[in-house]
Symmetry: C3
Subunit: 154 residues, 3 copies
């Protein structure tokens, strides 16, 4: 990490390979998360299990909150929100401390890949410790970046 941090307009710029890598993987992760909304709707239609009477053809008779498949996808979606929200914000602020290019791009790729695999193993109910490993990878990447940021600003 350089002692003098370049001006923001060089860091938050698509010409900065670190920021370009961040944007690339952030957008891919957010598209994946948004896809989970569509997949939830697909599973609801397949299981004829809805959250609101006005959503299904049989009104209140279709409203259930305990369908295994629907609730599993919703849990995966909530897990995404719980982890991506801190991770994406912290990732953006991390770019501003001018981190080393190569290791940071590796960090972003590893973290994003872990979250993509996490969603797959959650929805497909892959036995543990697959999901814990994916979760922990992204979690540790985010904590590492957070600590690096705090060491710079404190």
């Amino acid at each position: 990490m350089s002692a003098v941090v370049p001006a923001t307009f060089k860091l938050i710029s698509l010409q900065n390979p670190v920021f370009a890598c961040y944007v690339n993987w952030t957008v891919l992760l957010l598209l994946k998360t948004m896809f989970l909304s569509i997949y939830t709707a697909y599973v609801r239609l397949k299981k004829q299990t809805f959250a609101n009477p006005e959503d299904g053809p049989d009104g209140r008779r279709n409203v259930r909150f305990n369908d295994d498949d629907v609730e599993r996808v919703r849990r995966a979606h909530r897990n995404d929100l719980e982890n991506l929200f801190p991770g994406i914000i912290i990732g953006f602020l991390y770019v501003l401390v001018d981190p080393p290019t190569l290791s940071t791009c590796v960090l972003f790729r590893a973290a994003a890949t872990a979250r993509i695999i996490h969603t797959y193993v959650y929805v497909k109910a892959v036995p543990q410790p697959a999901r814990v490993l994916c979760f922990s990878t992204y979690f540790m990447c985010t904590v590492y970046m957070a600590v690096a940021i705090l060491m710079r600003v404190m």
Copy 2:
């Protein structure tokens, strides 16, 4: 989209009409989402249905998780989080690819209006396909911006 992207400090600037439009509608959408917290509390007080024993006058007797009105508002709130989080982040990154001013402001206004109407139709249980149309509008706007960003960075 210009071949050479202006420096960040011209794009992420309140003098940039695209960014001013983004800020305007993002803040309005976030205020709407925050209002849903207050509205949830209002409905909880009206129905005397709380999530925690310490919240209501009759302790555990008021704790219920199946009140139709309360849970409907909470579902609308969660739907906001699931969609606004990707949309607002992607919108910010979209400003950085220097999109055309007029079409982008129309995009931001249409997307935000769709989300505002979405909350209303969800809470008031307006029959489908009202909610699906609102959801899809914001979703397609966000996917469009995401793809535009990826085409720039990849």
Copy 3:
């Protein structure tokens, strides 16, 4: 608030004390939120109550969604997401309107402290109005910043 707003690269810069304060407290709040994921797992292990059959040693027999302690931590976590997501985005945009240094740093510190205490009082089931006061403090800080931003861009 100055009539002419300095260029973005002076505002979104770690040399700007307002932005440094924002980054500092935002990262601390996000670390606290991420800690709630770990704490949820700890309580699940302690109560042997899991959300998925593959998570626990006894498969489906451990799957419950009504354990008081587990659900309380999850409610605190969701409350964090509902409030920090708008607050952190609005805080970032607020830095861009070049607010006064001293009052803004006080605002960020007060808001962040309120959220940290909020998590503690929620998880420990401290009687009301402790949680309402914490929630309202952060809520009012965020609304104040949102209105200030709208007054600048409208």
